[in-house]
Amino acid sequence: MKYLPLVLSSLSRKKLRTLFTLLSIFIAFLLFGYLAAIKAAFTSGVEVAGVDRLIMTDKITIINLLPYAYKNRILATEGVDAAVQSTWFGGYYQQPRNTFAQFPVVAEEYLEIYPEIVLPDEQRRAWLEDRGSAIIGRALATRFDWQVGDRVPILSPLWRNKDGKNIWEFDIAGIFDAGKEGFDTSGMLFHHEFFRQGRAFGEGLVGWYIIRVTDPDQSEDVARRLDGQFANSSNETRTVPEKAFMQGFLNQIGNIGAIFSAIIGVVVFTLLLITGNTVAQSVRERTSELAVMSILGFSRLRLLSLVFIESFFLAIVGGGLGLLVAQLLVESGGDPTNGFLPAFFIPGEALWAGVFLVLGVGLISGAFPASRALRMQHVDALRRAA
């Protein structure tokens, strides 16, 4: 504590420089937090995928539909606990740019297989009772400013209804939240029965099945067993864990995770250069002062820690504030796309990574000047100063 005035005084020597450095570190970590949240928005589907869930699609492509008749055979398969069908509705609201995910499902079954869906009891009851109603995720509700009780028209280019139109109308019965951080709330769920009776074609067909297994450790065996059953039929299947399914989906838009990691890497590297340079410069300017302190009896170790305290101070104040503000902004509904992203939050691991990075910046940016202080010769340092 008694060294505090020393450290503060060396930081206040070039106030503007210290301020700029703090600002760059602050901005870099603000960005880090934000990018981590955006990355999470894309990849959290993979992270939060249920270990006990399998997805069964057509063997060749998810676009090919599967027979509804498979459902009973799936349920009868050893190791299967529950199953629900879902289908790609592919609609949008008013204009094509307002595309989002809608799935016709069997409400009771789907809610059971996805305990992550958090829905108030009366909204749940309302949805189950009204076959023409739908529930929407929180992010979607925010995106279009929809409320419970609204009636919304959705246009599906894929599915014509029996009136010969592609417009389907839904009453919003509830808004669900994510029971687990990162769970997708950007979509809409409605009743399979409503869909089945309303559609002009496709009788007896569904998009895919979501299957819950009794024992997650056995899921590979169960998947093999399921696909084996339908092998050599006209609709062969491919059953994979939900995580792999999500990953495959993500891979179609490129390796988002790697792209964001690269951006984050560049930001942090630049930051290291900036901080390192500041500390190095300030130590270089103070070589003679460090020499004098050493002559007065300050050990090399003490001088070293003074240098590190300085670099850590910059990193922790700038970086800590950056992370904190990022977290506050993201938490207070800072989704920059206003609901387009399925989820928006800074994952815990990213925050920890941020904290470690802050410490890393302090350590590495202090290392060079510290080693300089360590090697300094008194006499030379004074001579140069004179």
Binding site: R13, V292, I295
Partner: protein, 227 residues
């Protein structure tokens, strides 16, 4: 028994292929309570000798004994501690920390001791009073005159009460009046506080204030200006 005893002290620098012998087999003894002026032409090695005695430089050969302790072969860590306890340095260019107030500058050596905050404050106040700068405790170096800066430098050198004061041209950057005040201070420290003072100087007027003067020439010490 001398406070400082130097035997067969040599210091040389290698500059490319050529070797510069700054000090050659130099012998010297400085008794306790001495006020010694060290003179000699520029480049003769006065600063080098002072730095060796103060343990901030290492000899090429020979022994240095200060207060009964060999410091020429002391490991760096021990030497650093030793300096803090036994020697006070006064520099020509003061070498104060520009961002710290006079009081904080004087306090620096005390940070290495186990003294409490209030004890440190008390000692700092006493040292500043001794050099007549009590009213400038809160000033930064750039708000002080050269003579005042040097007095802060002296206060810093004596605050931890070392027995040996090493001054390298302490008046070299000051005018006559300010220089005289510094010399008065050193004189008082020597006479009233029993500090042993070694002072490098180019100024015969300053040297005259010392108890005796030695001349460094061609790597050797003598009592006459020209060897």
């Amino acid at each position: 028994m001398a406070l400082v005893e130097v035997k067969k002290l040599s210091k040389e620098y290698k500059r490319g292929v050529e070797t510069v012998h700054v000090l050659r087999d130099l012998d010297a003894a400085i008794p306790e309570g001495d006020f010694l002026a060290l003179m000699g032409p520029s480049g003769s090695g006065k600063s080098t000798l002072l730095n060796l005695i103060g343990g901030i430089d290492k000899p090429s050969s020979g022994t240095i004994d200060v207060g009964g302790q060999r410091i020429d072969n002391m490991p760096e860590r021990k030497l650093t501690q030793w300096r803090a306890q036994h020697v006070g340095f006064v520099f020509q260019l003061y070498h104060l920390m520009p961002m710290l107030t006079a009081a904080r500058n004087v306090e620096l050596p005390l940070l290495l001791t186990g003294l409490s905050r209030s004890e440190r404050k008390q000692r700092v106040a006493a040292a500043l009073a001794l050099v007549g700068l009590s009213d400038r405790a809160g000033h930064k170096p750039k708000e002080l005159s050269g003579g005042q800066e040097q007095r802060v430098g002296i206060a810093r050198a004596i605050v931890s009460d070392p027995s040996l004061l090493l001054c390298d041209e302490p008046t070299g950057d000051l005018d006559r009046k300010a220089g005289d005040e510094i010399l008065d201070l050193l004189d008082g420290l020597n006479k009233e506080h029993n500090k042993t003072v070694v002072m490098v100087t180019h100024d015969p007027h300053a040297a005259a204030r010392a108890k005796r003067t030695l001349y460094l020439n061609d790597g050797l010490l003598g009592t006459e200006p020209e060897a």
